[in-house]
Symmetry: C2
Subunit: 244 residues, 2 copies
DNA sequence: CGGAATTTGTGCGTATGTATG
DNA sequence: ACATACATACGCACAAATTCC
């Protein structure tokens, strides 16, 4: 984190730029030897700002639960982690990261039914206006939110999927109960953007945080689309891995 | 773009948050029918801010060359793009996006030689301390910077790759000249973070902007690692596509 | 062509947020 | 905690350019 310059008058406050950089450094393991952030005076010198500004930045990180300031000792690092998500034909939420955490859970936030928009119809290869079941879910690892997803399923085949999902907490198991023993990921699109209001709430992020977005299509073994989903991951908690 | 809420007092100025959202909407094609951004008064109403604030946001986008305001008429959209990068066994910079832009170019920023670190040795399956050639490159599409990459090659096989790359402007062609007719992408890791100082300069971004990072290993057809690279993409200009 | 409506451009005063010392 | 300087955001008013009837 040597000599990084901070930009003034760009619409992003100095304390936030600095908070973001310190968060990145922590995730990168730059302070692993001591388990602490450098003293405020040293950070102020490094970034070329007043100590007040550093305190604002550390205050924001403390609010996120990433660091904890202790008078007389310093600012301790509370948490750093980045889950690795494999993206492949067999992409599932819990399976790929099962060995990295103690517990994975998926919670149903909302369920509704709607008519397929032009875009959804194109993705799921159905007619516009076809009835779809829409599920809003939250993925957690060790009780910390990792991703929020919106998924659409053709209502004629999967009308009752909300109830089954609520009971099992798993898309894979819900599909099995509804006569789809297996399914495969056909294509995944990955983009990144700033967290929106819903991300801040559901994923417990702070404004300016980054979300990685995947848009994915799953089909059954007969190549018939069964699920289209848009997932939003807290970018500083995950990494995607593509095996070719 | 209906009813998106803007966050106050978060260290990110309202005009910057709004500029980012409008840029996203433009890239998403929300204003394609008219080719124009909605009037300032309407945007002010939608975002719940003063018209001056909207003007600051549009001013920033005008500075980026994305929109152009014309008195009496409105604010015209000058450019919108999000290049789609396929990630597969045959991932190359120019090939996948060739049909989306008029011109792709790759520029050599710097070249040097260094000893393999523990991490690089692990990735390239060589001994720590083995000599490596390191290339810093900048990928451009239609004269706009899209990605910056650092690549490492075993120096014993590819000692002269810097000169060949400078001449051809292509890794693929450089490999061919150096006796590697073909190579494949083994694994790609994808993360996202805030732009650092180098990103701001090379990719012409503003602070708070997002970069998508890929870490990738390429091998020759005998499964011998030939290149390890870390690339940083301007997140609002690209999209990754994984085909399974 | 006239004139109203629409839309961007500009100025000023004020309140609050950010950053320094 | 206090004083200072500048950036951000608001509200109001009016000017200038374009469009449309």
């Amino acid at each position: 984190m040597a000599g990084q310059k901070i930009q003034r008058q760009t619409g992003v406050a100095l304390w936030r730029q600095i908070a973001d950089r310190i968060r990145t450094s922590i995730n990168h393991g730059d302070f692993d030897e001591t388990g602490m952030v450098p003293p405020e005076t040293m950070l102020a010198l490094q970034f070329g700002v007043n100590r007040h500004t550093i305190r604002s930045a550390l205050g924001a990180l403390a609010q996120e639960g990433i660091v904890r300031a202790v008078q007389g000792r310093g600012t301790l690092i509370e948490r750093k982690e980045r889950l690795s998500f494999p993206i492949s034909k067999r992409t599932r939420f819990s399976q790929g990261i099962g060995d990295q955490v103690r517990e994975t859970r998926s919670v149903l936030l909302a369920a509704s039914e709607e008519a397929a928009s032009v875009e959804l119809a194109r993705q799921l290869k159905i007619n516009t206006g076809t009835r779809l079941v829409r599920l809003e879910t939250l993925g957690q690892a060790d009780h910390r939110p990792v991703s929020r997803a919106t998924s659409w399923f053709p209502a004629d085949r999967f009308g009752g999927i909300a109830d089954v999902y609520r009971a099992t907490g798993s898309i894979t198991k819900a599909f099995k109960e509804l006569g789809v023993p297996d399914y495969v990921r056909v294509v995944t699109e990955i983009t990144a953007t700033h967290a929106d209001e819903g991300d801040l709430a559901d994923l417990q992020l702070s404004p300016g945080a980054i979300v990685l977005i995947t848009q994915a299509l799953n089909t059954d073994l007969d190549n018939v689309p069964v699920q289209y989903s848009i997932s939003r991951f807290a970018a500083d908690r995950v990494r995607f891995t593509v095996e070719n």
